[in-house]
Subunit: 574 residues, 2 copies
């Protein structure tokens, strides 16, 4: 068992609160720093099996891209000080034991057994409070050839360095297995470096569980435009190598793809082995279960970061959304509670944002399918919009999808993507959702308006108004998926394009059901439309189509709808 001298007084202080933290990234160092600020006498130890601590894991794709030159930048404070063992010692009075693996928690004796990997020695360390900040590990699928050289997972800085080195050696053809968050972030980095990227995803869309199908399809279109090959509903069966053991080819159930490097990014799982072996309770997703104080079922053991499940504030059900932001918040809450505080972490709304090439992408809350699965009756709207006044030179487009519960009119979720400012809207939605905002509340928020920042009524308020119109029976939308089905089923209806002649000439549906009447002359030409037929109106964004719906209905037509999101949000071929 280790004993330590108090750094301040040179005397062993038996009354000191012995805090032991397993895990040296995000939650762990944050908890240590917070605990130190509250309790100057606490005896704080961080254990990590690696040699690099407290680095910015979320920055790895930018290091791979080359936007960040030196990997050390991810390990430095904003002042350029590397957060190594001596930094923690001097600046924080926190002991860090690197290359030290925790192998057992002995809850009865309140000790953990650790192995010093440098000298292969086993020791026990006493704790009063133990913090599990063990993070997550990537899932390794059982694919033949996955052990070949230049097949990587992006789990830590060592992986990031290896990937970048392989790029610098000239690898150009890259296959990414898995179209989740890490897969797409690294995809963006590779494309920026001029690589030829293929993504293989076993499910039927990119970012499953993160974006709804239409939004995922829109992002897919963007990536295809940038030269990315995206194969969905496709399973990797084998990875082949060359004579030197380097990867050469990915074999799927439908294709063979040349590959000089492979990134395996099929998901991460909470690292909860130690907790499980110690009899701590895990949740359905395998994460450590904690209460609102981030306490496990052992009151002396806390857990936070990527190894725990979090309460979803909308559903009241646990979810697993490992995020650097949550991990840091956890660290602070734990730091409070292991030093006598009573701070809560109420839960998450499941906010995820990321940048891929020039697109900003984000979501918060529930997706449409998830909402349906949970018994909600979601009513949705897809709205393409400029991110600021259309006449301002900095204007960029984006598309937002809003999901609202018809019964309570509460906002369930939102998703956005595009070159425009998406994240601001996601943050507003995350804030609104946290407070149980209704769609009317969203309209009423006094958001900042000036031409470089938003439209006078911001896109999310517009989207909320569209949903209110739908709830009130004023607006009748049809989703892109529904329209696609109707077109393919050869239903008998009228597809009414109400844009200007110039716009129509550029691009419209190639379908014999299309009628063209620009909105400006619609009132005069209503007699051209048959009253008995279903009419589906579209325009660029759905603004004019909605207006046309109201005009046509005003003349007694009964079956009139507009295409949600218009052609700008139409993700299929025309």
């Amino acid at each position: 068992m280790l004993t330590f001298l108090s750094s301040q007084t040179g005397v062993i202080n038996l009354a000191r609160n012995k805090i032991v933290i397993i895990g040296g990234v995000a939650t762990g160092p944050k908890a240590a720093a917070r605990a130190r600020r509250i309790d100057p006498d606490a005896d704080i130890t961080i254990i990590d099996k690696g040699e690099l601590f407290s680095y910015a894991g979320c920055g790895m794709p930018f290091y791979i891209e080359g936007l960040i030159e030196d990997v050390n930048e991810l390990m430095c404070t904003p002042l350029g000080v590397v957060r190594d063992e001596s930094f923690f010692k001097n600046a924080k009075n926190v002991r860090v034991l690197g290359k030290t693996e925790a192998i057992k928690i002995n809850r009865d004796s309140k000790r953990i057994t650790v192995k010093n990997l440098r000298i292969d020695e086993i020791q026990d360390i006493e704790y009063d409070k133990l913090i599990l900040a063990t993070g997550a590990h990537p899932v390794t699928p059982p694919i033949e050839g996955i052990d070949l050289a230049r097949v990587y997972q992006l789990n830590n800085l060592k992986d990031a360095r290896a990937i970048r080195e392989t790029l610098e050696k000239g690898a150009k053809e890259i296959v990414i297995i898995g179209a989740g968050l890490i897969g797409l972030e690294t995809c963006g980095a590779f494309v920026s470096r001029g690589c030829k990227v293929t993504i293989v995803e076993i499910l039927d869309q990119i970012l499953p569980g993160l974006l709804d199908p239409t939004m995922a399809a829109l992002l897919t279109n963007y990536l295809k435009d940038k030269g990315v090959k995206i194969l969905v509903s496709e399973k990797v069966t084998k990875i082949e190598g060359d004579e030197q053991g380097y990867v050469k080819k990915v074999i799927t159930d439908r294709n063979e793809i040349n590959a000089e490097m492979i990134i395996v990014a099929v998901g991460v799982r909470p690292e909860a082995k130690l907790a499980k072996e110690a009899g701590l309770k895990l949740g359905d997703m395998g994460g450590i279960l904690v209460n609102e104080y981030l306490q496990t079922n052992d009151p002396n053991i806390y857990a936070g970061g990527d190894c725990v499940e979090n309460l979803n504030l909308i559903t009241g059900i646990n979810s697993y959304v490992p995020m650097g932001s949550t991990a840091n918040k956890h660290g602070r809450v734990i730091g409070d509670n292991i030093t006598g505080g009573k701070t809560t972490f109420p839960g998450i709304t499941g906010t995820i944002v990321f940048k891929i090439l020039n697109y900003n992408v984000g979501k918060t809350g529930l997706g449409e399918k998830h909402a349906i699965d949970l018994g909600y009756e979601p009513i949705t709207c897809i709205r393409p919009s400029p991110d600021c006044a259309h006449y301002h030179p900095s204007t960029k487009p984006f598309i937002i999808k809003l999901i609202v519960d018809r019964k309570t009119e509460k906002i369930l979720g939102g998703q956005g993507l595009g070159a425009g400012e998406v994240v601001k809207r996601i943050d507003t939605l995350a804030t609104a959702i946290k407070f149980g905002a209704t769609v009317k509340d969203l309209v009423d928020i006094d958001l900042g308006y000036a031409p470089p920042y938003s439209t006078a009524i911001d896109a999310i308020a517009h989207a909320a108004n569209i949903i209110r119109n739908k709830i009130d029976g004023l607006a009748k939308g049809i989703s892109p998926i529904q329209l696609k089905e109707k077109i393919e089923q050869n239903d008998d209806f009228i597809l009414l394009d109400v844009r200007t002649k110039k716009e129509i000439e550029k691009k419209t549906f190639k379908d014999k059901r299309v009628n063209l009447i620009p909105l400006g002359s619609l009132r005069d030409k209503l007699n051209q439309l048959p009253k008995e037929k279903e009419i589906i109106i579209y325009c660029q964004s759905s603004l004019r189509a909605y207006e046309a719906q109201r005009i046509i209905e005003g003349e007694g037509f009964k079956d009139v709808k507009f295409l949600d999101g218009g052609l700008l949000a139409w993700p299929y071929d025309l």
Copy 2:
């Protein structure tokens, strides 16, 4: 009295809801468009004394700057269609009477008397519902010479055109009277065009009532760096012209300033003359009083936009904050309510954002002094922060001030400025304030995090944590103003700089009370500090200074504080 044929049927429909709207910008057209969508049969007329309707007034500074080439862009829909009388007729079936001034409201007979300014003819128009969207007018101070040529106010597109023409004729020396929102927005436009700008403000800071003194001082420093001359607590007494009647010079109570053009921007007042003469109730600020349905004390008359006062959701007291966003929201609410709806406009939180050169500036809620005046005990924090991960190449700095009520711990207001992304934070705060969020709620919001968008714990959550630390007695801050007073009073205390040697060498207080001990060696050098003296610690941002405060207090020191916001938020000379 005018009568109109129904455009649809050619028959006079006596049952139609006759809606008359006075004012053709923002609220008016919005109310008309919304009313039309709900009631296809309504008879809708907009009256405006000008010739240009539904233009984007907020875009005028960008037109002056030249970012927007053609003034028509401010009058077009996103599709490039000019919103003129025939646009309203064809697309909206709304009659617009331009060059028509409403001169009297006859509430008993439900008619308004209007004057056709083109042919100087007076007529009456019947209404069922009347909407006052008369906007605001700029205050014209009684200054000798204010009628000279090239003295402008920026009230409408005509003014904007005249100002830009004067610039294009070569005017370079410009004096702006009034450092409010319009004064600063035009200042930015002029500086971008290479003009030499002087701002004269009668009060003791720029943006009085909008930014707190420290924040205003920081923005003043930025503008001075950009070559703007800012004269506060200074009164313009006279404007002098040359022989041709062009402005030549501004005389103040302290200076004489050459001027080839003058912008008078000392504030705007609600245009409520018509309402007042008709016996409608006005508020203390001269705006029309409306209930939550935006109805005046005459149930058939509604009012919205810059001519009304709005309920402040924090104080429960009316305020006058004319904003294009609010005006558009009003229009929609009124459009609902004049067609049988019951839609509310609950109120505002007083959000204002604007861009000046490369700085983003914004506020929402109450300022510190306003909060004190209302009986709150505000507790504040000034936090300089990168707007995203410090290692990401797109990172830019900004400074946020957060104002919280000590008793309820509710957020009262926030202010931000800098090159970094300020508006996103202001929007989040505006949303949080709307829902009565406490400072702990703010910390808990699941904001989107990825390195290009924010730090893992966003700056506003950091600021909220600092305030929680202050409330809990952990953090003890001193504001820049308080420290400045102490320095000037020659108080006996220690000014402790805990930055690195390299930082200290670049810039620190020039004061004999300064002691230098970098944070990393502070624990070893505590004996250098006298226990009986007051110690005020500073660093770059206050992060290390707070940590130092905790270390020093841990050794039994009693009177230790840190400088709020550090040197980055220090607005005075060192």
